[in-house]
């Protein structure tokens, strides 16, 4: 039996707060943590499958052109080689997140350097790797493929364009105007666990162990790629060693493994090398952004302009949504926003760790810092003065809005020294010390999700959905939601995820997993509660459950009488999305030191205060915030994809040369969670968390760099060469 909730209006019932188990929000340690740290949690490539052979993708060494021929004979005599798979169904790019259809299938048409063109299968991985390196491929190269976004005519994304009032007039009339252009370099989506798939085909059914974030979409994408029915396909992704957007859409290794397994009638494993993960999955586009702020003497914005140039391959629908939060963060009557895409032949650009705000907020918040300085206003106060009453473009109410509280609580806890600020005031030895702040904003998303919740005859619970846990705590919070609703200790609830034979969850991505799939679990539990209440003979609203029994009444075991009780919950976002603007908000505060001689910048301390609705688990939520802030440090100081200016290939394609922050770069970080209930966001009153910590934090660091040493930088990341170039003498 199934229960359905399409959320068309705010859920003010707030049922979770009326429950009696007391587990929701508790800082429970991740239930799968022990298995992961002891190496007993199997990742996609680690399933022991008898007779499994190994495939390695051969990749293109040209930027654009046609594959004329693939010379199988060049490798078939090599030791252990079983086959060279060249199949028009093989994919050459990862699918975009939630694409729900096969990604590009044109292995004979090369669009970027490093694109997969064939799969070599051998008895061992080393044999396959060597053969893939030796596979002779003849190309007809098309010269002069553009790889620099600045040299091509860009396409305007008309859906994104906003023109309200007259920005040019507002700028010329403004007492304080800021008109600046920033650049941000591309970011990698690579996770610790490389992309991997083991495909098995029994003649009727295809089973694939894969490392993917959104099985509900991935199964459709895989069936579409292979021209099969979805009921012939099963994908299993119980543990995923990091997502970061790289595993949202179906990727090349999964399709290649499936085709090879069907062709060879043997299980086939395909694991991407670290370099391949970097070079043929997803990049975040580099951006060029112009910010225009027109303010009166008190810093109140009358004009707001944000124009961004991003890039992608020809034919890709995704354009880094740089302006996402710029549409609603600050009030201003005269607005101009525009997003343009340059079509170039670098690898695919797609969703990577907070697509949009991760690069849009650091530039906007950098420009706000300049405005605060010009207007002689404290930067916190400047933000407070510009918080809109309602969405300034759409005129919609906000679902909830904790920016002001986050700014105030964050400033307090950080010890923010309010008032107009001057750079280069503190020097300790070689180091300039300074502080900076920025607002955080990240749109809240939810997606359709289903989950089945069962109470077993022995009184334990079972949650089943094809939702994934990419290291965020999904296993744990789903047990807590079900435990709270059903009066069970979460330890008594088995959460079974990552299998497309289960009801379809939302998948993990865009910070929407908890609110979406969590709501499906909630809906299922609500239906179970109604049945239990019915059996007890009371109204559901009067039913109090805790520790496996009706409070003051029977145990669940007795009520079930030896039979299990199951309900499927189906949650769908409804018309409410059209009636409100929903976003997480927050504030970052950072103290940095900048070396006067070398330009090296290190973060001394950092604080993030965030409001994102109900906190489902204080420990996993805090960890998500810490992770986001760590990415903020990377975006501010170190992370940069570097592309060869001639071929467009990604050159720094491993974790030694693509610099994410190391432990020593991450200081003590404080997280304040401003608790709230958002009745619009979901029936859990919870919003997305995962990405908010990287949406603006880089600007707090950049603004602190300026406050420390007087170097105002307009290019992220702020590496020593750039800091020195901007440093006053």
């Amino acid at each position: 039996m199934s229960a359905h909730l399409k959320q068309d209006k705010p859920d003010t019932a707030n049922r979770l707060d009326q429950m009696k188990q007391g587990t929701i929000g508790q800082p429970i340690t991740r239930v799968e943590g022990l298995a992961k740290v002891t190496g007993t949690a199997p990742y996609a490539a680690e399933y022991p499958v008898e007779g499994c052979v190994e495939g390695v993708l051969a990749t293109a060494t040209i930027t654009r052109g046609q594959v004329v021929s693939v010379d199988r004979d060049s490798v078939m005599d090599m030791p252990g080689v079983i086959a060279v798979i060249e199949d028009p169904r093989m994919t050459t790019r990862a699918a975009q997140g939630t694409a729900n259809e096969a990604p590009q299938q044109s292995p004979r048409t090369v669009c970027y350097w490093g694109q997969p063109v064939a799969l070599v299968v051998a008895e061992t991985f080393e044999q396959a790797r060597d053969a893939a390196k030796h596979l002779r491929v003849e190309y007809r190269e098309e010269s002069d493929a553009p790889v620099d976004p600045q040299v091509v005519d860009a396409e305007e994304q008309e859906d994104e364009t906003v023109r309200q009032g007259d920005l040019a007039r507002a700028m010329s009339a403004a007492e304080n105007a800021v008109d600046v252009t920033y650049t941000t370099k591309g970011h990698a989506s690579a996770a610790m666990e490389p992309h991997a798939a083991i495909a098995q085909w029994d003649g009727r059914q295809l089973t694939v162990h894969a490392s993917l974030q959104m099985l509900n979409y991935n199964i459709t994408e895989l069936a579409d790629a292979l021209d099969m029915e979805e009921d012939q396909v099963r994908i299993i992704s119980r543990f995923v060693g990091g997502g970061f957007g790289s595993k949202l859409g179906l990727s090349e290794e999964t399709v290649a493994a499936a085709i090879a397994a069907m062709e060879l009638s043997r299980p086939v494993r395909v694991v991407l090398s670290r370099q391949q993960v970097f070079q043929c999955i997803m990049r975040r586009s580099e951006t060029t952004q112009r910010l225009q702020l027109a303010a009166d003497g008190e810093g109140r914005l009358a004009g707001f302009g944000h124009k961004a140039l991003v890039s992608n391959l020809p034919g890709e629908s995704f354009a880094e949504p740089v302006l996402q939060s710029s549409h609603f963060l600050y009030a201003a009557e005269n607005r101009e926003l525009m997003l343009e895409v340059a079509r170039i032949h670098r690898m695919t650009a797609g969703s990577v760790r907070a697509p949009g705000e991760a690069v849009g907020m650091p530039t906007l918040e950098g420009a706000m810092d300049i405005l605060a300085e010009r207007a002689g206003i404290d930067p916190v106060e400047l933000r407070l003065r510009n918080i809109p009453e309602e969405d300034p473009e759409e005129g919609l109410p906000f679902s909830s809005h904790k920016l002001a509280e986050c700014l105030r609580q964050g400033a307090d806890a950080f010890g923010w020294d309010a008032g107009p600020r001057k750079p280069r005031m503190t020097r300790e030895g070689e180091w300039w010390i300074g502080t900076g702040m920025a607002s955080a904003a990240r749109v809240h998303n939810v997606g359709e999700a289903k989950a089945r919740v069962t109470i077993k005859p022995d009184g334990t619970g079972l949650v089943e959905t094809d939702m994934t846990d990419i290291g965020t705590g999904t296993y744990t919070i789903l047990a807590q939601i079900a435990g709270e609703m059903l009066g069970l200790d979460p330890a008594q609830i088995l959460v079974d995820l990552g299998d497309t034979q289960h009801p379809r969850g939302s998948g993990s991505g865009g910070s929407w997993g908890a609110a979406s799939t969590g709501s499906a679990v909630y809906v299922a539990c609500q239906a179970l509660r109604e049945e239990i209440a019915n059996r007890v003979g009371i109204e559901e609203t009067a039913l109090d459950l805790a520790d496996g029994r009706v409070i003051g009444g029977q145990t669940l075991v007795d009520l079930l009488g030896g039979k299990e009780l199951a309900r499927e919950g189906h949650y769908e976002p409804g018309a409410i999305a059209e009636d409100y603007t929903a976003s997480g908000f927050g504030a970052f505060f950072a103290e940095v030191r900048v070396n006067h001689f070398t330009g090296e910048t290190r973060v001394n301390r950092m604080l993030g205060a965030f409001g994102f609705g109900r906190v489902l688990n204080h420990k996993t939520a805090r960890s998500q915030c810490l992770g986001g802030i760590t990415w903020s440090i990377g975006a501010a100081l170190t992370e940069a994809l570097e592309f060869d200016p001639r071929t467009g290939h990604l050159v720094n394609c491993d974790l030694a040369e693509y610099h994410v922050p190391v432990h020593r770069d991450v200081p003590d970080v404080d997280v304040i969670m401003v608790e709230e209930r958002d009745p619009v966001a979901s029936p859990l009153q919870a919003k997305g968390i995962g990405e908010l910590g990287m949406c603006g934090g880089a600007a707090a660091i950049g603004n602190a760099v300026y406050n420390a040493c007087g170097a105002r930088l307009f290019d992220y990341p702020m590496t020593p060469d750039r800091v020195l170039a901007a440093m006053p003498d």
Binding site: T61, P79, G80, T124, E126, Q127, R129, D130, K133, Q275, E430, N595, H596, F597, T598, G599, E600, R602, L637, T638, E642, F643, D644, P645, R646, H649, V651, N652, A656, E657, H659, P661, V662, H663, R664, D665, T719, P720, D721, L724, A725
Partner: protein, 328 residues
């Protein structure tokens, strides 16, 4: 797979005999070689495992110096009491490199022989004169932020990536090398690595059939020791610029200034004119600029890496100032 033979050398003679074959490479910690083999940048026909031939000791020399066996791990060297007491510069340089796990495996000899991390060298589908003579240099006009500004050629602008050897260069250490015929020679660290010139494939003076057995540090000298590594993140990153310095002052004037520079060239850079310019002079910003002028007079950037020229100057100022402060 790409087949290779693996043989374990039991003695030094074994080892020199094995590596006298053209296609044989010695392997010790393997922290660089195995990565390069997976990428097929290195494709040895045979690996000669030299881990069990001895030469792991760190011992005092009769002259009061310290002989560090070629197979002493970087960790063992960095924590050795005499290194910490008499050559803290070396301990600091080693600890500024790689990670604890890598340092536990990496050896003295292997570290000296580590290869550049130039993106184009590491990618067999790109041109590289070092990897494939005559194929061209991908880094020139390519992504060259980490590349050399001193001593490069039109064949190669790669940098030597290590930290340990930069410290050893400042300390004027000697590399002991043994060949198959039993011959022994000693080469100053300052002369061990080569400039690319027209032979960019050649990283150092080691000949086929030769094995490094030790690095010997001379008796410790008076003066302060510093190692400064400028990098984009605070660990696990190669130097943009590094400076190893042994500096002494007496009566307000420099009496010793042994400096070596990493991140600037195909080898740890040592220029004796810098010591000549500093010694006998009182510290001043002008003096540091004079030293920097000498260091950088032939410096040549390649677009993105031009920042290394002012960075080296500023870092030299910082290091000398710190040395003077610590001497006071």
């Amino acid at each position: 797979m790409r087949q290779f033979q693996y043989q374990r050398a039991r003695t030094l003679d074994d080892a020199t005999g094995l590596v006298s074959q053209d296609s044989t490479m010695a392997i010790a910690g393997g922290t660089n070689l195995l990565d390069l083999m997976k990428l097929q940048v290195e494709t040895p026909g045979e690996l000669a495992d030299v881990n069990r031939i001895g030469f792991g000791e760190i011992e005092d020399t009769p002259e009061g110096g310290l002989r560090i066996g070629a197979l002493a791990t970087n960790t063992e060297t960095a924590v050795h009491p005499r290194v910490r007491r008499d050559y803290p510069l070396l301990a600091r340089a080693i600890l500024a490199g790689a990670t604890q796990q890598l340092r536990n495996k990496a050896t003295t000899g292997g570290n000296l022989c580590q290869r550049t991390r130039c993106f184009y060298f590491m990618n067999i589908d790109q041109p590289c004169n070092k990897r494939e003579p005559g194929s061209g240099c991908g880094a020139i006009d390519g992504v060259a932020k980490l590349h050399a500004v001193l001593g490069s050629s039109d064949q190669c602008i790669a940098t030597y990536p290590g930290d340990m050897a930069v410290a050893m260069s400042a300390l004027d250490a000697q590399v002991s090398i043994v060949s198959g015929d039993g011959g022994e020679r000693s080469v100053p660290v300052r002369e061990f690595h080569c400039l690319p010139g027209d032979t960019p494939w050649r990283d150092n003076v080691l000949e086929q059939g030769e094995i490094i057995t030790a690095v010997t540090l001379p008796a410790p000298v008076m003066g302060g020791q510093l190692y400064r590594k400028v990098r984009e993140r605070s660990s696990y990153a190669f130097a943009l610029v590094s400076i190893a310095a042994v500096v002494e002052l007496q009566h307000g004037k420099f009496t010793r200034a042994d400096l070596a520079f990493g991140g600037l060239a195909h080898k740890p850079w040592h220029d004796p004119r810098i010591a000549d310019a500093l010694i006998g002079q009182a510290p001043s910003d002008d003096l540091y600029d004079t030293a920097a002028d000498l260091l950088l007079e032939d410096a040549q950037g390649h677009g993105e890496n031009e920042f290394k020229i002012p960075l080296a100057r500023r870092t030299l100022h910082a290091v000398l100032k710190q040395a003077v402060e610590e001497a006071a």
